[in-house]
Symmetry: C2
């Protein structure tokens, strides 16, 4: 019997994934040239579908990388000459910050404890920070930063570039790309695909910054997947190197399925399933939602502290063919993490709650 | 009816690919955690199979990236403080060199015209070059550099690090990893998989160099996929970020199939099929092998100059469900490129020759 994966990535595959994969094999998508019209059509299709789904204007390009982690590095190399600013409240926002340090950028950071979230009112962006690095959804702790707060912050600092990590939440957050300069995600989370493809959205302002930095002999914007080269190829829906053609095809198909359902419906369903889970956790004696503030509670990765060792809960669920994530890092043994992605239905969430009640 | 892809990558999928993919879907490999024992077993399996196939000793680690192009950047960042040395005789060796320039390394280069190859006797490595960048198989021009020549060169310069691009030839070249410090390839060529995974082989000397460079505040070895971090995780068959789990699983399975056939048999079959193609081209009035020197003729990507426009040849083959590659760059319209990878059989090569005769 197959498992249902409630893990926060890699996660349950989207139900239509299998038929799209079969069609791709029938059409030999794994063998076609990335310099063919067929590939350009596939890239354009994925681009069109993502643009509709996430309401991305023409000012922004959509690029493909090996992973979202790669984008941490690319956006820092391409958009920061001296200083970046990071909001850090968990392991993944910390990694974004660590990458900036590894690249010898001058880093500024505002930290909050694991499980706490940020609002615009908390934040003062340092004067010389060029790039503001935000994490919409902290996969490690189940904390979200609401898009409205990000937009408020950008309005306060309109000249700074804003980049949002939406790895474990896109397409849920309704970002205003009239304000947000760059965002990125990976496909093995809410898009219900296997891991192996990152998606990087960036606008003309990011490109201009990269082009400006490229003229500077004292630093490098990198050699692989630089924004100017990605953008040059993007104009004809091509890529500088051979990309993961098959996954780009599959991403386009799944984004099309999402558009058929409608992004508003997907967001509403996500919130409904999230409400079911939080309501259960709030009322339970065996679990407690880790994030206290309602406005900071993630809708896509729900983290609960368990009264008994989390391994017991996970093992019991596994017996019922449900796979739940463990806590992250030092919370591994005292928390569980439940992904609430489009691939799992309301009925499956209800079954999981029944299981967790046992 | 399905096409047979004789294109030099993406290429024909290895015949067993489909059944491995089906099994992976049945086992839900696309959903498993990259922090699970299951994933560690998959990584270890792929590592074991590649180690057997390519005769890789324990001194070398095997790492996964988004693509082989990414490895150009990683090896330069991690193994070069000041100077690299490049042999350039086509578009892909040129790109390796371009990457070094983009990273502001001091680059040394020995160039030969498109279609000509290198022997050890031609080459003097500049005194301060730290990394010697070789391309076993120039995918653009169909030129190979024989491993014996690479080994001879390394023996002459034992203290320099040697890195070999085997993108469009591995597992064909019989590299002596007692001499070669690093090599890399991508899976969409001779391994008969869809694109989306790079494989990087590097030894302790590369690691030591990276660790040394990491202490230097005036340069960066990058932030993503640095060799010290890859190696640290590799010790437990893990990866720093979520990798392409599914493709690592599939690569292990295909490498196992190759080992069942035996690497000697695969190499012999490659040479037999190569001989058939070159023999036909040499005798033909309509085609001419582009590479004149027998010892520089690639066994895995055979390039021919066509008397008629190459588009006519390609279109005619396509009508017979055979897909042949066009020439590269300025040779697009006057050459064809034929991949001779393990996924195409002797019979398929014979059918292609019959078609080209028409």
């Amino acid at each position: 019997m197959k498992n249902t994966y409630f893990t926060p990535g890699p996660a349950e595959l989207y139900p239509s994934f299998y038929q799209h994969l079969q069609k791709a094999m029938d059409e030999q998508i794994g063998s076609i040239s990335h310099r063919s019209q067929r590939f350009q059509d596939i890239y354009k299709f994925a681009d069109d579908q993502l643009r509709t789904l996430l309401n991305i204007p023409d000012t922004h390009g959509i690029f493909f990388t090996g992973s979202a982690s790669e984008v941490w590095e690319r956006v820092l190399l391409n958009c920061v000459e001296h200083e970046s600013f990071h909001l850090v409240n968990g392991s993944f926002s910390q990694k974004f910050y660590d990458y900036a340090n590894a690249l010898h950028k001058h880093t500024n950071v505002l930290e909050k404890p694991f499980g706490e979230g940020f609002d615009a009112a908390d934040i003062e962006v340092p004067e010389y920070a060029e790039l503001v690095c935000l994490t919409h959804n902290e996969t490690s702790s189940g904390v979200q930063m609401r898009p409205a707060e990000m937009h408020k912050l950008k309005r306060k600092y309109p000249k700074k570039l804003f980049c949002v990590d939406t790895v474990s939440s896109s397409p849920y957050p309704d970002l205003d790309f009239g304000l947000i300069d760059s965002a990125f995600f990976s496909v093995q989370k809410a898009f219900g695909m296997p891991a192996g493809l990152g998606v990087w959205i960036a606008n003309q302002s990011c490109l201009e910054k990269a082009e400006y930095l490229q003229q500077n002999d004292t630093l490098t914007i990198g050699a692989h997947h630089t924004l100017p080269v990605l953008w040059k190829h993007y104009k004809t829906y091509e890529t500088p190197a051979t990309p993961n053609v098959l996954y780009i095809y599959l991403l386009g198909k799944i984004a099309e399925d999402f558009n058929r359902t409608g992004i508003d419906t997907i967001r509403r369903q996500t919130e409904e399933k999230g409400r079911m889970l939080y309501k259960f956790l709030d009322a339970s004696d065996a679990y407690e939602p880790f994030v206290k503030q309602d406005r900071h509670r993630s809708q896509t990765v729900i983290v609960a502290t368990t009264k008994q060792p989390s391994a017991d809960v996970i093992t019991a669920a596994k017996t019922a063919n449900m796979v739940v994530g463990s806590g992250y890092g030092k919370f591994k043994e005292s928390q569980i993490r439940i992904a609430n992605f489009p691939a799992v239905s309301t009925e499956q969430i209800a079954s999981l709650i029944d299981q967790l009640k046992k």
